[in-house]
Symmetry: C2
Subunit: 341 residues, 2 copies
């Protein structure tokens, strides 16, 4: 029912995206009595590309995921996931409770063929573009196979959403020499090297390379990914707040800040992840996109456009086929190293 800003913001986003005549039809899932007047007010009442799928309940941010999924069968989230399950929708976007969306999608849709665990992907700005961080928190204790699948899920998502033909995939580690890192990264690195060709694996990357133009996809476990994302947000806010304090310290600096305001605005906009509007939950059997709870109409419109790309570029089929090839390669006996004669 629309995240922190409510359903009116969702309707405004639909209005924005439908200005594009090529946009796919959109179904709003939620309380019809609330949605119908909002659509009418937006001049969308008779638009053949908008429909309402009624749901009488809402899972809130405070709800415990598993309990809410069990008790609120007629919630907008459960109904929207089920639209993907039945094929009535090809992708679902939610800005609701992340835990409930992950659990609900995994339980109701089950997994993509060959994949064992879901992964959340996030699009992050860096020098010269953006990268995909996967996993941003769906699976905090993965096995190496899970990270191999994440690499494939992330690479395919990078092709679709960043438009990079052959995305460079790196595994986050604490040193790029062989043997550095921990058991998980060492075993994952071995497997990723074996499936090179299916993805463009460039090897382990260290933290200081993350915001440089080194790789397009960064693979990590969900514990590390979630911690990185949250601390990055925290650090960016801290730097901004320090800079604001310093700029207000005397009239000279304040005058300078007024003149340079355009630079600060531009910086804010470049750091803003709204452009990519959502974090897909990859690896489940169907397309699910998580938008931020505080998404405004522009962020939601970006999410809807991202969802359309996911469909049109057939993300799901391409990913599933790469996973099948990788699993077959990894199931074959590992090559034995022989000294050059």
């Amino acid at each position: 029912m629309g995240g922190d800003l409510g359903p009116a913001e969702v309707v405004a986003a639909v209005q924005l995206v439908l200005a594009d005549a090529a946009m796919d039809p959109v179904t709003l899932v939620g309380d019809e009595a609330v949605l119908r007047p909002l659509l009418a007010a937006a001049g969308l009442a008779d638009n053949p590309r908008v429909s309402i799928h009624h749901a009488s309940e809402v899972i809130t941010m405070e709800d415990k995921p598993l309990q809410a999924l069990k008790r609120k069968k007629d919630s907008s989230m459960v109904r929207a996931i089920d639209l993907v399950k039945t094929g009535a929708a090809r992708v679902t976007i939610s800005c609701g409770n992340t835990g409930a969306l992950m659990a609900g999608s995994t339980l109701r849709l089950r997994m993509m063929e060959g994949v064992e665990r879901p992964a959340l992907a996030a699009v992050i700005p860096r020098e010269g573009g953006h990268f995909i961080l996967i996993d941003a928190g769906a699976n905090p204790e993965p096995r190496p196979e899970h990270l191999v699948h994440n690499a494939i899920l992330g690479a395919n998502y990078a092709k679709v959403i960043l438009g990079v033909a052959n995305p460079r995939v790196g595994l986050i580690s604490i040193g790029t020499e062989e043997g550095k890192g921990n058991t998980l990264t060492t075993e994952t690195n071995d497997r990723l090297k074996r499936i090179n060709g299916i993805i463009n694996y460039v090897g382990p990357v260290e933290g200081f390379q993350v915001f440089r133009d080194t790789v397009d996809v960064i693979v990590c476990d969900g514990f590390v990914g979630n911690t990185l994302l949250k601390t990055w947000e925290s650090l960016a806010k801290f730097i901004t707040s320090l800079l604001k304090q310093e700029l207000k310290a005397n009239p000279l600096r304040m005058g300078g800040a007024v003149l340079a305001k355009g630079a600060f605005d531009a910086l804010k906009s470049r750091m803003n992840p709204d452009r990519y509007g959502g974090a897909p939950l990859l690896g489940v059997r169907g397309n699910i996109l998580k938008a931020h709870g505080s998404s405004n109409r522009h962020a939601l419109a970006s999410a809807i456009r991202a969802a359309a790309k996911i469909i049109h570029q057939d993300l799901y089929q391409h990913t599933e086929s790469d996973v099948a090839r990788a699993n077959a390669l990894l199931a074959a006996p590992a090559p034995v190293a022989t000294p050059a004669s």
Copy 2:
């Protein structure tokens, strides 16, 4: 022999700290033929508080730690560690090869009583002050007991270096509710709650709390800590470089930037970790401080002052005593939860 800037910078740092009459005597470990003229040039040749301990070799940044330690027995690093081992020095500072310093200290000094693995601590600026991040990379695959020891090592270091009487200790996790996180954080959390009182454990903290004034010590495994530190540095550089680009985009902004220059300089200085000058390697049997390879005289002077605090406030004895108490508590049978009658 002085990191990237060479031994002259170390001598300059010694000159700075010895201006304080209360500063302890300093021994320079390295090539006497190089150091003696530098001391003379700095007017320190006859200063009774400076001495030279000759060492003919140098472990370089490119050396492989274990190999270098084995082959270069007369290196300044090995000699300086041995001064702590024999009690000739109470603390050693190095801005050399981190891997060699960690391995050399662990192998030559062995561990503090009751501690199994060393940990690197880092001092990081945040809103309203600084926090200690431990472990910054010494132990990438710890067991819960190791993190419990890290909490004690970090809390004692926070008392000495941040001057906080009862530092708040948090365990980094991906949700603050019970059961969130992974096996390592769940098991560590259980143990930390049991030793509460020995340290001031406030519970799990999430990434977005890290740069707020929430805790004084953040405990994490060495893989997470090393990755966080390196990505934070990378992100701060990225934000700075974006801002510079934007400020240069037109003459108006450039004028503003000139007026506001003081604010940018102040921000840089507040983000600068030089003030705390070093990352201690905690948990080994003796005091070892790692300074950044690129340390200038001011950073090195801060490290020497930090080293003096470590001695005067008896960091080692306090820590060892807390570890013994915690180990005794954890060795006792775990309390059984009983419902209130």
